[in-house]
Every structure is written in C-alpha cells, then in structure tokens.
C-alpha cells in the first residue's frame, strides 16, 4: 500500500497517540457505566468489580430521583424552545440572506456579539424582570414552562439563525422567483418554496437549539419550581444531597447520569457532520 502523502506523524507516534486518546476517553466512560451497575453500598466500599451486576439501579433510580418528571420537563422545555427558535431563525435568516438593507450588518454582528454577555450577569435581573412582569400582567413566568422556554430560545437563536443564514444563502433564488412571477407574495414563497428546501438545515438548527435547554443548569436552577425542574437540576440537587448522606446512592446516580447523557450523545452522533460547520458561530458548549 502506498503511503498517504498527508501522513504527518511517524507511525509509532500516531499509533501511540491514538491508543492514548482511546484509553483516556473510554476509561472514565467505562467507569461510569460500571458504577451504574454496581450496588450502591459497594461503590463506597472501595471495591472496583461489583459482587453482582446491579441492573436494578436502572429500575430503582426512577423513584429515588424524580427522573421521569425531570425528563419530561426537559423534553417539553427544550422541545418547545428549540421549535420556536428555529421558526424565528428561518424567518430572520430569510430576510438576511435575500435583501440588502440598512442594519443588516449590525444585525449579523449582534448575533455573535451578544453571546459574549456573561449569562450569570443576566440571571438575577431576569428573575427580577420576570417577577415584575407576572405581577403587572397575569402571565406567570417563574416556576412555569414559559420562563425557561423564552430564555432558552433567546440563547439558541444566534446559532440557529447563523446556521439557517448559511443554509438559505446556498439555496438558489431562481426557485422563489418563479413563485413570485406566478403571483405569490414573499411570505408565501418563503413558506411554500424555501421552507421545504431548507428542512435539512432546520433539523440541524433544531438539534443544536434543543441542546441549549437540555444542558443548562444556571437558569433552570432559579427559574423553575420543584414541579418544572429540568433533568439537569434534578440531578444536580440529587448529587448535592448525596454528599451529606450516610449511604450515598452513587450507583443510581451514575445510572441517572447515563440516561441524561444518552439522548444528547445520540443526537450529536447523528448530526456530527454539521457540528464542524456550526462551531465557530456559537459556543455549543456553555
């Protein structure tokens, strides 16, 4: 076999580095999986290989942690916020990609610039603002789904808009022009011609927006009530309670952690091709 001209590492270095990376990645994950099937009592005893596989952890944890409710809340909050974010993003990206107007560059710039506002700075003022709004008009925001939804959709919009802007810019204008000549309005052309063509891009934007809400702990810890707590906060609270407890339920905690990570890891794996395109535009990881 001919040597690949792109080979920049001597084979021993490449093989050594690859093995190193694989071990460093897989060992902690294997440890998490192992602990998740270790009986809670044996985790603290310092035994590495459990006496038996405690698959029961995966059954028990649903009643120990309020995992089901957290999962449902996370699904609703992230699902609704990402759906709205994508709808807003497609509209804005369409205008940005098709027309030249004053304020176009500031708008594009603001997509990126506003992301550098530290989120922790907005947390308390947002809480204050939400409580003022819900006293003034009967629209509850704190402890409901609405509050986190509107917050996450705002934070998801820059990346979603940027992804859609790139995507729509690559769709030829001629297709909508035909519709316009046939008498359609711009908005009809957008809905009937552009959106169907942009669906693949929208799915990617939806995935990235979904993850914004799923991974957040900061806002969820203040804006949700025990009934609307997301999975992330549910787990964080549970973990905090273990530190002081007499018998920490570490096995079940790891089981719950695996279940929390799985949906996101699967989504990313399915869409990893697009991860590369989306990264520079917005911090995927908060």
């Amino acid at each position: 076999m001919r040597r690949d001209a792109r080979e920049l590492l001597p084979p021993p270095v490449r093989i050594g580095a690859t093995v190193g990376f694989v071990l460093v990645i897989t060992l902690p994950i294997a440890f998490m999986l192992l602990l998740s099937v270790t009986p809670d009592a044996e985790v603290s005893s310092g035994r590495l290989i459990p006496s038996h596989w405690a698959f029961a952890n995966y059954a028990k944890m649903w009643s120990t942690v309020n995992l089901g409710r957290g999962l449902a809340n996370s699904l609703v909050i992230s699902g609704v916020s990402s759906t709205i974010a994508v709808i807003f993003a497609v509209g804005a990206a369409y205008v940005l990609s098709r027309f030249n107007f004053r304020g176009r560059f500031p708008y594009l710039y603001s997509l990126i610039a506003l992301q550098s506002v530290p989120h922790v700075m907005l947390l308390l003022p947002l809480f204050v603002l939400f409580s003022s709004i819900q006293t003034a008009i009967p629209f509850p925001l704190i402890g409901t789904y609405q509050g986190p939804v509107i917050t996450y959709l705002t934070f998801a919009l820059p990346l979603a808009t940027w992804l859609m802007f790139s995507y729509l810019s690559s769709i030829p204008v001629e297709l909508e022009e035909a519709a316009l000549v046939d008498g359609a309005t711009r908005f009809q052309a957008l809905r009937k011609v552009v959106v169907p063509l942009a669906l693949p891009g929208m799915v990617v934007a939806l995935v990235f927006s979904f993850i914004v809400g799923w991974n957040d702990v900061l806002f969820a810890s203040v804006l949700t009530s025990p009934e609307t707590r997301t999975l992330a906060v549910e787990l964080q609270t549970f973990s905090a309670a273990q530190a002081g407890g007499s018998l920490p339920l570490y096995g079940q905690m790891m089981g719950a952690a695996v279940v929390s990570a799985l949906p996101v890891v699967i989504l990313y794996m399915l869409f990893q091709r697009y991860l590369i395109g989306g990264l520079p535009a917005g911090g995927v990881k908060g």
């Binding site: 985790v43 369409y94 176009r104 700075m121 705002t154």
Partner: protein, 318 residues
C-alpha cells in the same frame, strides 16, 4: 464562516422586473428575535448595570428601583474586600483566568495531535472520529458528576491509578482543598479538547492532498510538511480556536457548580460561580451585579479581537 453576499445585490435585474415583490419584503420576520433579545438580554443587562450602583439585598429586592444609591461602593467591595466566601472578585478573576488559559494551553497541542491522527485514510477512521467527539458532547452536568466519582478518595479511578503506580495515596482528597483546582482543570481538559480538534480537522480537510505531494517531491520530511506547509495555513484558524476556547472557559459555571456542590472549595470559585453565590447564597445582589459588570468589561477585550477576526462585513459585502 461561509457568509455570502445577499443575492439581491448582484441581481439588479430582478429589482426592475418585480418591483411589486420588493414592496412586500417580509422585514417583520426580523422582529421576533429583536423582541426576545430586548426582554432576555438587553433589559436585564441594563438592570444589572443599574443595580450595581445601588444597595439591593433580599429585603430591598421587591422595591429594588428605590434602593439607596451607593455609587461605586460595590465595585470597591468587589475588588478589595473578601466576603463570606473568603474570596474577592479579584481572587476569582485570577482563578478564572488561570483556569481558562491553562485549559486552552493544554488542549491546543492535544487537539492538533488528535486531528493529525485521523487525517489520513485508514480503516476505522470514521469510528475513531466519532469516539473523539464523545467527551465533548456529554452534557457538562453529567461530566461533572462522572469526574466527581473519578476523583473520589478510595473509590475513584484517579486515586486507584495513582496509588497503583506509587504516585499518591489512595485517600488523596481532590474535591476539597488546594487540589480541587487541578481536579476541575483536568476534568475540563478531558471534556473540551475536541473543540480544538474539530476546528483543526476542518482546516486540515481544506488543504488539498496535492500540496502534500508537491512538498514530498521537494524532499520535505513529515516534520517539514507539518511546520512549513500545514501549520502556516491553519494559523488564523488556530488563533480563532484559541481565542474562543479562552472565552468559553472563562464563563464556565456548570462544571464547578455541579462537581463540587455548594459551598465550593475556594480554589474552584471561578468568577461566574462567585457571582452566583454572592447573589443567591449571600443575597448581596448589588455586589453580584458589580462583579458581573467587571466580568463583562474583561470579556470585551477578547470579544473585540474575536469580532475583528471574523471580519463579517468584509465577507458579506464582497
């Protein structure tokens, strides 16, 4: 950044033909984002700046607008005094800077090396590329819990390993005291090195194989190809990646918050965590706001360079 010129600019032809269509430009589609940004970012931002000059605590929070004006007192307190957390904003700033710079310094060579291991064609490359992404895509709150277990005395894999090779006692405490900073940094490094890897891999893929072949014909060694052909072309990209990585890690809240619980050990009290605790555990909302404003001012420096590097205007108005 693949921003393209608005087609309208190049097709003046269409303007003439469909003057009517220009009339119904759906510009209102831009407004939803403006509204939510005003509500969620702009107004809270102004409230934060305003409260940083007041004295707002849990008693005055309900009528915070009428809280007493104290000028720059909060800023002085943030920079000078140490509060109950026994760490000032300045102390936390030092931790944040050390944490984000150190993490970036470690992950940059690691990420480049990782990208180089999967740049050539071989069986199993796709699988390896996916595997490299896994730590990066695990939600931060899960990473925090996972590494909390890794660092536990006696039980954790880190201590078992270090004890096995005789480097540390199996009962070493990583989650409290001075070592906690290293526990946090090691965890972050494990979680985020793929960020540099993805950026560099994307850059590597844009270099045509012919360039390597020409260099080879000229008798270049692998090392010369790397330092003379590849890295010079990726310089801008790597600089951007380093800048972004420093920015992101500076704002990390979730990892120390979930990994160490409340109250956290002092060495992991990064600025965002300090602001959170000052506001929601000590209820000194004004001090928290002043600390956020200081954070923002510091972020403006790398933020400015970031916007300049993107050169959005140049690309879009070509």
């Amino acid at each position: 950044m693949s921003a393209q010129p608005a087609p309208e600019a190049s097709t003046a032809r269409r303007k003439r033909r469909s003057g009517r269509a220009d009339g119904d430009r759906p510009m209102w589609l831009l407004w939803p984002r403006v509204v939510v940004v005003l509500l969620i970012v702009a107004v809270p931002f102004l409230i934060a700046v305003y409260t940083s000059f007041l004295s707002v605590d849990q008693y005055t929070l309900r009528q915070w607008v009428g809280a007493p004006w104290v000028g720059f007192d909060n800023y002085v307190a943030a920079l000078a005094g140490s509060n109950v957390l026994s760490i000032s904003a300045l102390g936390s700033l030092g931790i944040s800077v050390a944490f984000s710079v150190l993490t970036t310094l470690i992950i940059t060579p690691v990420g480049i090396l990782a990208a180089l291991t999967v740049n050539t064609d071989f069986r199993g490359r796709a699988l390896l590329r996916s595997l490299y992404l896994v730590p990066y895509v695990i939600p931060t709150f899960v990473t925090a819990l996972l590494w909390r277990m890794m660092f536990l005395p006696q039980t954790g894999l880190i201590n078992r390993f270090l004890a096995a090779i005789g480097l540390a006692d199996v009962n070493t405490y990583w989650l409290v005291g001075a070592k906690s900073f290293w526990a946090m940094t090691i965890t972050e490094t494990w979680a985020v090195w793929a960020f540099i890897y993805i950026m560099v891999l994307a850059g590597l893929q844009s270099i045509p194989v012919e360039q390597y072949e020409v260099a080879e014909l000229d008798g270049a060694t692998s090392w010369e190809k790397l330092t003379r052909v590849v890295l010079p072309q990726l310089r801008g990209l790597i600089a951007l990646a380093v800048l972004l990585s420093t920015l992101f890690h500076f704002n990390n809240f979730t990892l120390p918050f979930v990994m160490f619980g409340t109250p956290p050990p002092t060495p992991v009290t990064v600025l965002p965590l300090n602001i959170y605790l000052t506001s929601f555990n000590l209820f000194d909302f004004s001090l928290g706001s002043a600390m956020s404003v200081i954070t923002l001012l510091i972020m403006l420096v790398p933020g400015f360079f970031y916007l300049r590097m993107l050169r959005l205007g140049e690309v879009t108005s070509r």
